[in-house]
């Protein structure tokens, strides 16, 4: 039906006074937006194919291109917005589930932006990180209940196994398959250079990347792709994925078309078959069952690896985390509803789960109340956008944070949210060799190192301002935070006072 036509949301604008018809835009665009029109004797663009990734804009040698939001609109309606109408047309036409990627883009409160950080004035003077030592190294894992001495009065090493990172930032799980080999290599190299960790996701560990094993967290999810003894032994820690912030309550599904020969080898499934990770682990229906998986992994690796359990931030996250802290897990990773994904049903991405800020505060508070906060460390993720977000997360109770969207942005991602198409022009969310070749792993690693190094310095500046010289002393230090424009209820969940109090 012709009424289904939707005018593209964005328009490619070409400045013909600059365009030299060099065809670079045409070569750069895997979506086929640009072409040469012989009759007109100039380059033309098909706006309908544009995903707004800005590859052509960035690569145009004469800056002849820009992409603008169209001013074409449905008749203004606050309830039936253009997006809502468009989705209905699309679904009425196709009968399909709306699919999109990256994090929840909807207008929900961003609590990070409603929290302010303290600084010292006069008393408890601030510390200058340029001339004073500042500690951002930290350890992730359980803490012993007490200090123990042997018969000779020497301190006993009764520390549970742990991870140690130089910066409070880890790269969170993205599988090989959802992102390219070069993107993985950049993450692995950056993690090694920074003294932190990257995470395989559930796509297995590529043979070439075992050399970065000391900086690798290996993931075990419901599909158990690429999981075997050597893989488990390789990782510095093992993460059990129970859920993901972008799509809580549902599983993953990497279509057969993305299972190329190399991805197939790493996942250990035949080429071209769907890689299905169902929503639940079909052997985990309770905390007891989770404990069984935690201990089976510990037994298989001789208790040498900390076990992380990753969950999505959902309504009763505090009670779930309490169970996990008693399951034998060493670290809990909580992923907020703005966390990214390579593909998720849009309705789930946009409507399921809760913000990480509230989930994190609730979990930290609950574990403290129950006297089990020291059983585990907490890693918070789900849209950490800056060093300020990190300082706020740690003061709300996190030990460290996971970043992924920010890491991909550092690698060139322009957040066009079309990963599910598999035609990423920046060589990140694709397996097409001509596209993945566009991402240089060494240059990518350098940019990741730059980003995290810069953030770490900013963290030190903010800590110094508060008169704190160790990141461990910031953890759960909610007196360093004040809310701005928040309700009593929000303040009480976050466990912070309002600005001015």
């Amino acid at each position: 039906m012709s009424g289904d036509f939707l005018y593209p949301d964005y328009e490619i604008i070409r400045d013909f006074s600059r365009c030299t018809v060099c065809h670079d835009c045409e070569r750069q665009c895997a979506n086929g937006c640009h072409s040469y029109n012989e009759k007109l004797g100039r380059m033309v663009a098909d706006n309908a194919k544009c995903v707004v990734c800005h590859r052509c804009v960035s690569m145009c040698p004469v800056s002849a291109l820009k992409i603008v939001k169209t001013d074409h609109t449905f008749k203004q309606n606050a309830n039936w917005t253009g997006d809502v109408i468009g989705d209905i047309y699309r679904q009425a036409g196709s009968g399909g589930v709306l699919l999109s990627s990256m994090g929840n883009p909807q207008k929900y409160p961003i609590y990070w932006d409603k929290i302010l950080i303290n600084a010292s004035q006069v008393t408890n003077p601030s510390i200058d990180p340029l001339r004073e030592p500042m500690e951002t190294k930290l350890f992730l894992g359980g803490r012993p209940d007490r200090v123990e001495y042997d018969e000779k009065g020497q301190l006993k090493d009764n520390l549970p196994v742990h991870l140690s990172t130089q910066v409070p930032v880890l790269f969170s799980a993205m599988s090989y398959g959802s992102i390219s080999r070069n993107a993985h290599e950049a993450l692995a190299k950056a993690a090694a250079a920074l003294g932190t960790y990257y995470n395989t996701g559930e796509g297995g560990l590529h043979e070439d990347f075992y050399q970065y094993a000391d900086n690798t967290i290996v993931q075990v999810a419901s599909g158990r792709f690429g999981v075997h003894k050597r893989y488990l032994d390789a990782g510095a820690a093992i993460e059990i994925k129970m859920g993901q912030g972008a799509k809580p309550g549902i599983g993953g599904h990497l279509p057969g078309s993305k299972i190329t020969e190399d991805v197939s080898r790493t996942r250990m499934i035949p080429e071209g078959t769907d890689a299905i990770s169902p929503a639940p682990h079909h052997d985990i229906y309770s905390i007891e069952d989770l404990r069984q998986l935690v201990y089976s992994l510990k037994e298989a690796t001789s208790y040498k690896k900390p076990i992380i359990v990753k969950i999505a931030a959902v309504h009763n996250v505090a009670a779930i985390a309490s169970g996990i802290a008693r399951s034998g897990a060493d670290i809990i990773a909580i992923d907020g509803f703005r966390g990214g994904t390579g593909a998720a049903p849009s309705r789930i991405r946009d409507n399921v789960g809760i913000p990480i800020e509230l989930a994190l505060a609730a979990v930290d508070e609950r574990l403290r109340q129950e006297g089990i906060r020291n059983n585990v460390s907490i890693i918070a993720g789900g849209s950490i956008r800056s060093s300020a977000d990190i300082v706020k997360a740690i003061a709300l109770g996190a030990d460290a944070v996971y970043i992924a969207t920010a890491a991909l942005l550092a690698l060139g991602c322009h957040l066009c949210r079309a990963c599910q198409l598999g035609r990423c022009n920046w060589g990140i969310a694709t397996q097409r060799p001509d596209l993945t070749a566009r991402l240089d792993p060494d240059a990518g690693a350098r940019r990741l190192v730059n980003l995290v190094t810069a953030w770490n310095h900013e963290i030190k500046e903010m800590m110094g301002g508060m008169g704190i010289n160790s990141i461990e002393a910031l953890r759960g230090n909610r007196l360093m935070l004040r809310g701005i424009g928040l309700t009593e209820k929000e303040l009480s969940i976050l466990g912070i006072k309002h600005a001015g109090e």
């Binding site: 399909g96 699919l99 003894k229 279509p255 057969g256 499934i269 035949p270 078959t273 079909h282 201990y295």
Partner: protein
């Protein structure tokens, strides 16, 4: 090494098993000790009693023999090796196993062989002498499951078998299948090639269970269950 599990926790028992250099290990008085042989390779462990959950999880080449019953999650994510259970086992045996063999003399619980997969030379096999519970081979992506239903009559498997199946095969002995088979499962008579595979599997199984005769079993009727597509969820998605 010979070791009694009496008064030992699972951690103590498994540590002793890991620490010994002996290839052949006999464990007796086993009563619910979990994770025996987890991740191990090159061991031959004989178990008397009832091992606990996750026996031989991530097994990487060892051989485990249980003289008795086993509990849940036998051979979870195992990659290679052999687990022989003379009695019955609980739920989710062979979850996501990618290689090796699990032979069960008696019955098996629910959700056996879920996510079983195969890759390259690895193609796992589960043979169940008795009956299997519901949800057998859900999301099966590779490997072979055989259910013999010995000592019983009627359909030897529970309902909802093979939901989401997208690889591998199942041989079910008998003449009746449950009414709740998934649409994704194709039911066929085994062809010559499949019968050869079945013969090979049964002959090996009978080496460990000599009271069963492969040749006489092969005279009985078997259904062959395979997936009707490699891409079961090629649901139409719409980009927005």
């Amino acid at each position: 090494m010979k070791l009694s599990g009496k008064n030992l926790s699972f951690q103590e028992l498994n540590e002793a098993v890991r620490d010994t250099t002996d290839e052949h290990i006999e464990l007796c008085d086993i009563l619910g000790h979990r994770y025996i042989g987890a991740g191990s390779s090159g061991r031959d462990i004989v178990i008397e009693g009832v091992p606990g959950n996750a026996l031989g999880a991530y097994l990487s080449g060892s051989s485990l023999t249980v003289k008795g019953n086993a509990q849940d999650a036998v051979g979870d994510t195992m990659n290679d090796g052999r687990i022989i259970i003379s009695g019955s086992c609980g739920d989710t045996a062979g979850y996501a196993m990618r290689g090796g063999k699990i032979y069960i003399g008696g019955n098996a619980g629910y959700r056996v062989g879920i996510h079983m997969k195969e890759y390259g030379a690895h193609s796992p096999i589960i043979v169940i002498g008795g009956r299997a519970g519901a949800f057998l081979g859900e999301y099966q992506a590779g490997g072979t499951i055989v259910v013999l239903g010995l000592g019983g009559s009627g359909c030897p498997i529970g309902g909802y078998c093979g939901t989401g199946m997208h690889g591998g095969r199942m041989f079910i002995r008998g003449t009746v299948l449950p009414g709740t088979l998934s649409d994704q499962v194709l039911v066929e008579e085994p062809d010559r090639h499949s019968r050869l595979l079945l013969k090979e599997i049964l002959s090996d199984y009978c080496r460990y269970f000599p009271e069963v005769s492969a040749n006489s079993l092969l005279k009985d009727h078997f259904f062959l269950l395979t997936p009707n597509t490699k891409n079961p969820f090629k649901q139409l998605y719409t980009a927005c």
